[in-house]
Symmetry: C2
Subunit: 304 residues, 2 copies
């Protein structure tokens, strides 16, 4: 079952060296979620051969242009290509106004509905849930209201061992309690331990996305123990003052969050245009937290 | 003295095959004008090594996204890169609302002023003039209000032939009338023909831009005799009905305008995403008007 993040862009506000602004596609069990949508996202989706019509949910962290300016082009192209399926957008409420004014002046009547889900940048909450997955939002500490997102698989039930069930003559009616982890009590009152009858399910996986934020240790609790953490790393630590002034983080600070939250793996991105060579950012982060990777366009990160 | 158009994008609404939507840079005597600004224009400017800070005038033909969605990213990046020089934008008035709402929600106070010049989509007019150049706008016939632009060098004065002036003892006070093309009358009343004393000036060059329009023979008079005409050619003629329904033109129709207006050269663009191979569009146009070229990204068209 796939749980894979594809990086479409990881530049900060100024796109240079052919680096595009923030956008990622998250594929969980062949359900496709778009995380931020910087200018050029549609071209990047084409480049990496991701079918944009499969995207039904778009999450926008905040209203700085490098995180949403590709949205109108994507919405319009979905319309021109005949989409009729509802599109869900999770964002600050002001984005709806920005989108609707542009649809109005271009005299575009979308062939499909947009279902808006507004995030509250001040408090965490659940923004999406299906049978396999929950997406939570949480506040980030940036210059304007900004929201992070946490994708968590739901814990799957324990796996029944069919041969053992037959052996112990377990009735079908008892299956749900076994899947839930309880022991089985026979008609004669003897106890068969759950671990005799079931196997551990596949582990529930998780991905946290922290787009733009000042170094904020409170994030540690929010993203504790996730399999994969994306955290912005706009600057090297010699520009820590500049990072603080602009409500951004250094590579070392991103790694400190990853280390303190004991995440399994960190990817850093949102690189300032001043860095043509990104290797020093990687080195700085790895010195703090070894399991760090650069978010490069076209990279795919699978959680097994 | 340069008069050169660089194509940054010539795709219609859906960008595919790495083709970008409409944007062009017009360099006239090292003054840089941006014509339309589809999504990705900033990246394209970088790719073709055109310094965006040299652009002081931006013309937007209409408010379909493929003609302006790159504007916010460009405006923001100019701001982040420290621009203080005034920026002039020529467009429908509604674009100002679209830009300002996005600056408001991103809490961006631009370090430079934007000077808005609103075009009237219903009637022609002069929108820009300097010592060398006039830019006129004119109505195009599209689904929403749409404006074409015509760049004309001013006619330069006739060039004085210094040796002849000395020979005929022409006083300096007579130079202006000679430059204007009049004959010189000596003190004794004899007439020295102007052509004895002056040479033809460099020819005034012209470029007309017709972004999105249904086939409209009235355009012929507007663009008559220009050196270079860009005319959209969204479809092949087997889709002439579709072109009419969507207020676009076929390649053959674009060429008919060029032929009837006796322009020197035609470039066609705004190709539908359905055409991976653009050669048939070129062939169709050339059958009507031989001096036709495809507008391909990175192409530069110089008028000598």
């Amino acid at each position: 079952m796939s749980f894979e993040i594809t990086i479409l862009g990881s530049s900060s506000a100024t796109p240079i060296y052919q680096r595009h602004p923030t956008a990622q596609v998250i594929n969980i069990h062949e359900r496709f979620f778009l995380m931020d949508c910087g200018e050029g996202t549609l071209i990047q989706l084409n480049r990496y051969r991701i079918k944009f019509h499969r995207i039904n949910h778009i999450f926008i962290s905040h209203l700085h242009g490098d995180h949403y300016l590709g949205l109108l082009g994507l919405i319009s192209t979905m319309h021109l290509q005949g989409r009729t399926t509802e599109l869900h957008i999770y964002s600050a409420p002001e984005l709806r106004e920005i989108v609707e004014i542009q649809l109005k002046y271009s005299e575009t009547n979308l062939r499909y509905p947009i279902n808006w889900h507004f995030t509250d940048p001040k408090r965490p909450g659940t923004v999406y849930e299906d049978d396999l997955l929950v997406v939570e939002c949480f506040p980030l500490n940036h210059r304007i209201p900004c929201t992070g997102f946490l994708f968590r698989e739901k814990q799957r039930p324990r796996k029944l061992i069919r041969e053992r069930l037959a052996e112990y003559q377990v009735p079908v009616s008892a299956y749900p309690i076994l899947k839930a982890g309880q022991d089985f009590v026979t008609e004669t009152g003897s106890i068969i331990p759950n671990r005799e009858l079931t196997l551990d399910p596949q582990r529930a996986r998780s991905y946290a996305f922290c787009s733009d934020t000042i170094y904020d240790p409170r994030l540690t609790d929010t993203v504790r123990g996730v399999d994969l953490l994306y955290h912005e790393a706009t600057f090297l630590s010699d520009l820590e003052d500049r990072a603080r002034e602009t409500f951004h983080s250094t590579a070392g600070q991103a790694a400190a969050i990853a280390r303190d939250a004991q995440v399994k793996r960190l990817i850093i991105g949102h690189f300032s245009a001043r860095y043509k060579n990104l290797y020093p950012l990687l080195e700085e982060a790895k010195a703090v937290y070894a399991s760090t990777t650069l978010a490069m366009e076209g990279d795919r990160f699978s959680i097994e």
